[in-house]
């Protein structure tokens, strides 16, 4: 995300209405000369003079405005609201806000702009079709004269706004014990201390300590209140591998599936980072491109966010073996690995087996192309139903073959990730989730 920026003010621009008035005035003058009557000339004179007068006598608008805006809502709803604060004494009249939704967002309510003294407030509501992460550019602020004949872009401060929408089940993933799907559990030790887990040591008791945490024997022996301190349970490390290889589905659907996968990556990473787990990230296209080594903390969250947002579809597909070899240079074997891939073709489905053979316990999260609305060209209703059944059968067959190697989550309900939570908790159960 780029730092707050101030857009440069632009010069006055003629609007189509002004051009229309000038053209009409010119036509009136032509009529006057053609018909040898002065009446159209007098009718055209105010029309010719108005745009010039508007630029000459109209208010200039504020030099710059300060933008504060935010995104609220949950699930597919994105509610945007903001305030433009004007310099003291600057007129708020004539200010307009232009906010266009980026790809994947659709306006579900009109943009409402309210002028209130020295501030201008705006609100709108968008909806997203599927889980996504996006960085919204600040709205364009334009001053327009009272007649709407000239306009000028107003300089404004304000930062791009990140919007993240992913299934709410991801917030419950932090309760998952990753060791259950790990071949070799417990490679890292948590530095967190708490009220449960392995015994760590003694410390002076605090008033907020529960009675059960007081070590009565030690207290009696030493003569002052002592409490037990525990080392919190480890949740293990997690490596997220985003498959960015192209599929036979086409660029448009690939981009949408990748956008869904990126949203899941960020949501899952954020959820586990809250529990101090170490999370790493890698994007695999032709080669292992973007890599964020295992780490935890707020800085790691920022690193992951930048890497995930910057992940793009690769034009060339690399072999799955190359990914497994490449990952071994950055990540230790045994780390629980979540592969996010549509697995829409046999070469793409080869990635989890290769990773497993190299020593990574894999869980495959596969965003389903069948869940994308409008993904297929229009067919007759009976053909549509038949095509849907065939596609579903083909996909189930391909994913069923992968169950030999790893738990597979067929993510066909895009606003729910209950299946992933089940796969983490019961990885050994070989049934479709």
């Amino acid at each position: 995300m780029s730092p707050p920026s101030a857009a440069r003010a632009s010069p006055l621009r003629w609007r189509p209405t002004a051009i229309g008035l000038e053209v009409a005035g010119a036509v009136f003058v032509f009529l006057a000369f053609a018909l040898r009557t002065p009446v159209p000339l007098f009718a055209g004179l105010p029309l010719l003079a108005a745009p010039v007068a508007s630029a000459l006598a109209g208010a200039r608008g504020p030099g710059s405005v300060d933008l504060r805006w935010s995104a609220e809502g949950s699930g597919p709803v994105v509610e945007l609201s903001g305030t433009l604060t004007l310099p003291p004494g600057a007129p708020a009249e004539g200010l307009e806000v232009r906010l266009d939704p980026p790809s994947g967002f659709e306006p579900s309510a009109p943009l409402r702009v309210e002028h209130d003294g020295a501030t201008v407030r705006f609100r709108t509501r968008w909806s997203v079709r599927e889980p996504t992460i996006a960085v919204l550019d600040p709205p364009v602020v334009v001053w327009r004269d009272p007649l709407g004949l000239v306009e000028r872009e107003v300089a404004r401060t304000g930062a791009p706004l990140p919007v993240e929408r992913y299934p709410p089940e991801l917030l419950r993933l932090r309760a998952t014990r990753l060791e259950r799907v790990r071949m070799v559990p417990g490679e890292t030790r948590s530095r967190r201390r708490g009220t449960h887990g392995e015994f760590f040591g003694l410390r002076d008791a605090d008033r907020s300590d529960p009675v059960r945490q007081i070590n009565w024997r030690a207290t009696a022996r030493v003569g002052r209140w002592l409490a037990n301190e525990f080392e919190l349970d480890l949740t293990g490390d997690l490596l997220i591998v985003q498959d960015t290889r192209p599929t036979p589905l086409g660029a448009e659907r690939d981009d949408r599936l990748l956008s869904i996968g990126r949203a899941a990556s960020l949501g899952i990473a954020t959820s586990f980072l809250r529990e101090k787990s170490r999370v790493g990230y890698a994007a695999f296209g032709e080669f292992v491109g973007t890599v964020v080594p295992l780490a935890t903390g707020r800085i790691q969250k920022l690193r992951l966010r930048e890497a995930i947002v910057a992940t793009r579809r690769s034009p060339v597909a690399g072999p799955g073996e190359r990914c497994a070899v490449g990952l071994s240079r950055f990540f230790p074997r045994g780390v629980t690995t979540l592969v996010i891939s549509p697995a829409a073709s046999d070469p793409l489905a080869e990635l989890p087996p290769y990773l497993r053979r190299r020593g990574w316990p894999v869980v495959l999260l596969s965003p389903s192309p069948l869940a994308l609305p409008g993904a297929r060209p229009a067919l007759l209703p009976e053909d549509e139903a038949l095509a849907h059944r065939l596609e579903r059968l083909d996909r189930r067959h391909r994913l069923a073959d992968l169950w030999i190697h790893c738990p597979v989550v067929d993510w066909d309900e895009l606003w729910s990730l209950e299946g992933l939570s089940l796969a983490f908790r019961r990885p050994s159960r070989r049934r479709s989730v």
Binding site: P11, V27, A49, R112, E114
Partner: protein, 174 residues
């Protein structure tokens, strides 16, 4: 979503519509069209344009303006070359400007703020009309020249203001 925000008053545009309709109807009366076709055309055009620009979506606004300007041009071309027709045609053109300013899609107060702009346009028209018909011995060509001179003065003023706003912008972004 927008319930928490007070609804901002919007101009109805009724006054400017009536003014423009009256001016066009008067101009139509002066034409030689039979069966009161002139005033009827003027009034109907203004009513239709007012309905067009209040349609949701706001995409019919240019069409409404084009309709009004078309009728204004037609009636002024058909009007006899007398001083009253010139006066009414000019007032009708100023009415068009006020009608634009009272667009319901614009915020409240736009009509009030547009008065200085319309006044300048009216001043140019008044100068031209005074030169053309106010002085009995002055021919029409002088009126035309006066109008063009008024536009030239406005253009010079605009150039000066544009240069000033450029320097202000440089200071604002420095």
């Amino acid at each position: 979503m927008s319930d928490s925000l007070p609804s901002e008053p919007r101009p109805s545009g009724l006054g400017a519509t009536v003014l423009l309709g009256g001016a066009l109807a008067l101009l139509g009366l002066l034409t030689s069209l039979p069966y009161f076709l002139g005033p009827i055309a003027g009034a109907v055009a203004v009513v239709a344009a007012a309905r067009l620009r209040t349609r949701p979506g706001g995409r019919a606004g240019p069409l409404a303006l084009g309709l009004v300007l078309g009728v204004l041009g037609t009636l002024s071309a058909l009007a006899p070359p007398v001083a009253s027709a010139e006066l009414i045609a000019g007032f009708a053109a100023l009415g068009v400007l006020l009608w634009i300013a009272s667009d319901p899609s614009r915020g409240a107060g736009a009509l009030r703020q547009a008065v200085p702009i319309v006044a300048i346009a009216g001043l140019a028209f008044a100068v031209a009309l005074a030169l053309a018909v106010g002085l009995p011995t002055v021919p029409y060509g002088l009126g035309i020249a006066g109008g063009l001179a008024a536009i030239a003065v406005l253009l010079v003023g605009f150039a000066l203001v544009a240069a000033r706003s450029g320097s202000d912008r440089g200071a604002a972004t420095a």
